[in-house]
Symmetry: C2
Subunit: 405 residues, 2 copies
Amino acid sequence: MELQEKIDEALGEILRGCEEVVDKKKLEALVQNYFENNETYTVKAGFDPTAPDLHLGHTVLLQKLATFQKFGGVIKFLIGDFTAMIGDPTGKSETRKALTREEVLVNSKSYEEQVFKILDSQKMDIVFNSAWLDKLGADGLIVLTRFFNVARMLERDDFEKRYKSGQSISISEFIYPLLQGYDSVALKNDIEIGGTDQKFNLLMGRHLQRSYNTNKEQAVIMMPLLVGLDGVNKMSKSLGNYIGINEEPNTIYAKVLSISDELSWRYYELLSEKTLKEIAMLKVDVTKGTLHPKVAKENLALEIVTRFHNEELAKLAKSEFDNVFKANQLPTDMPEFTLCSGIWIAQALVDIGLEPSTSQARRDIKQGAIKIDQVKLSDEKYLLKSGEYVLQVGKRKFAKVKVES
Amino acid sequence: MELQEKIDEALGEILRGCEEVVDKKKLEALVQNYFENNETYTVKAGFDPTAPDLHLGHTVLLQKLATFQKFGGVIKFLIGDFTAMIGDPTGKSETRKALTREEVLVNSKSYEEQVFKILDSQKMDIVFNSAWLDKLGADGLIVLTRFFNVARMLERDDFEKRYKSGQSISISEFIYPLLQGYDSVALKNDIEIGGTDQKFNLLMGRHLQRSYNTNKEQAVIMMPLLVGLDGVNKMSKSLGNYIGINEEPNTIYAKVLSISDELSWRYYELLSEKTLKEIAMLKVDVTKGTLHPKVAKENLALEIVTRFHNEELAKLAKSEFDNVFKANQLPTDMPEFTLCSGIWIAQALVDIGLEPSTSQARRDIKQGAIKIDQVKLSDEKYLLKSGEYVLQVGKRKFAKVKVES
């Protein structure tokens, strides 16, 4: 392959799925310089040091960093420990308790365990912004605050809304974007990646690099937020529409299979390590009818389970899934509970966690979604007698119960 | 005198001339506690470390501090050196060049020389806020900025005007009032004094003492701005309506005599060390006609010259003034100039600095305010011939000129 062709392909992979790029010329020049002169460049991404528990939404960014690692990028994996170690003395925010240095290090180890499943540890530095912000001093911070004005800060979407609606904005909140931008100054950073919701803060890095007369001015790449399993909202723990990277192989596999065919192509774009060419070929096969869309989704699920566990477990997850959902057989492994004879079926389903409430259980019975030993139950008032049974809710929730007299 | 009577008199002197007091109860309690238990309290006033060159307007505050010293107040004469030592790296402000520690110390010495003419050096500490702000660190500063919100800061008059009119406000400008308030926290301060224009910043001290859960909450006293010699505008160097405390005895004396009788009572209230009772008696005498208002003004001028020079020089200044302005004699000491023959009188008056412009000189000639050798001049076009003359403008401006052929 010609050099220019390689460069174009690299840029294609780097720009794949990006929502917005600022200073694309700079980005192109850095990649070209890597291919021509083997000179690397830095790519910064910032992470919150509180309790890292990643889901696929977070890995969109990590996958992009992994792509950069292939094409000359040295990752500055920045853990924003500085402000996390200050805490909130006003006691307004429960979530802003000060972290100790030890807690930060523990969380950082946890990050490493998770992100090294995606990133090449040889091509990255894990850096803590306390390294330079501790030294900044009150005087250095004042100098920093001179480089930005109040009106422009209030133009940030969330600030503007809160200011106009009379909600309080602490002055410290004006400081945080400046500190995040200063991180880029301290790192002499070349490219920063973040979510589209971070645009204001990402551009702050550029602005401050200019203000401090560094001769760097970082390019900025913004990744979209990953849509969750529901196909509508962004993936998040609190909405329950997520795939955690530490979840069991079976769970991850089944969750990927549950997304719509359409969404699966978006997941391919943002999460798969297949090249754009390979993905394009898959799509062609699906369109021609030589590949079933479900098979494409199975391949994606296998890839993702393999990434966070391994290939063997991924294959096991697939065969387990096929057993349960395709053949409608019972799973090989089910949680087991012991109950007392005479218990109302709706209460039993709530007690063992298959239903959120007895009223929901009753609705499900009416709709024929509850089975006892694979036989549909129709009596809402059914009481369990002593014996052993398999209880089932819908297609995926199972439990073995032992009812004692 | 009964104790309560003494306390009331002290409070009367302390509150004399004040524009506004916040937490008067606290103030009263501190003074009472001093009289009853001989316990002192701290009184903070902040000063700018750049080039101290004081005029009477500044001494309104200093006189009030001197009053406090009489009644149990220990003055914290605070020199705000911290921010002055940072400077302005954006280069926007000419006046915000960073001061070195040496320059700050030189300026502080200059302050001492000037303020010890008014204050008792035994009952005061000169403190520099770098002592605690240097140690604050970026983390401490962030904690500080959490205690105030953007909307309330934008309520400060000048910020509000600038924000609404689209003028830039740097975020650092939001930090300065917080630092000034934090000084009160660090000093565990009891009372702060400042000008009425400083109200926002003075109250910040109270707010922050509360926020940091100190068990102090300073009372605040606001002094009015002194009206200058013109009787209209506040005294200021740039308006030229000032009396500098380092000016010559004759100058200070003559300037005090130039103010209106009415204004002289305001000066008595804000600047004199005479008690309220003594001043009330003077007023009675003037009203009864037993004291000429000019004599009351002379006494004020003598007091002020004595304060900044000494009694002997004050008396000399008085007799000199009497000679010139009462007997209409020539002053013993006049500036001397050499001019060329044939010069137009109006031009000559401008050249030697007695008139601001030739048009003003011509108006003064028309009004009979110009004398040559004590004889009124009526010819606007008069040209000076060779010889020696005394030129006079109005009652007070004189010069000797030697006109050479």
